[in-house]
Amino acid sequence: MVNKVKMARLQADLTQQQLADKTGVTRQTISLIEKGAYNPSLKLCLDICYALNRTLDDLFWVNSGGEKNEESDR
């Protein structure tokens, strides 16, 4: 699933390990989420949003055609 976790994590100046520690998962899981290779549960999405101080829309919203939300890209 396409997402903007990596961008938000870098903007928050966090490493994958630090974000993993904050959300209670392993670094590998964060890496897979950033690559779009693992679809996290809604609970984990929310935990990531809380850790990065972002909204679900900011990080995970995808338009029905599969394109990322243009407005939040701006």
Binding site: V25, T26, Q28, P40, K43, L44
Partner: protein, 141 residues
Amino acid sequence: MKKVTDERIVFENLKHIKTAFLVQTLGIVLILAVDGARNGYEHARSNPLWLLVLVTAIVLSYSRLRTAVESERPGRKPFSYGKAVIGPLAAGIAVFAAAALFSETSMMNAVMLGAALFAASLLPALLITFYRKKNQDEDDI
């Protein structure tokens, strides 16, 4: 050992357990098949592994009842508990009648056979009714 909180690893572990369960079941069935081929069907049935296979199948079937009811076509009205008993009762009577009329078994055995089928199918029928009623209660108005 630290408790695993990572949901991805929990799912991975569940997949591993599924694979291990499959291997274990195949192994048990193979052992029973070899035992049956060497010493006869009755000998294989007296093996405790046979009981293990049966209990596992029953546990798995009961666990699947809930999900089976949830995947039914929506809008299906649940029977009352009274009506749910009719099916198992009819099956029990039918088996008793068939055993009494068409086989050479004793009347007592025929009654036991019918009663066993009734008892075995009553609990699933009641559980299905319970789950259907519960699903209906959870539906939006």
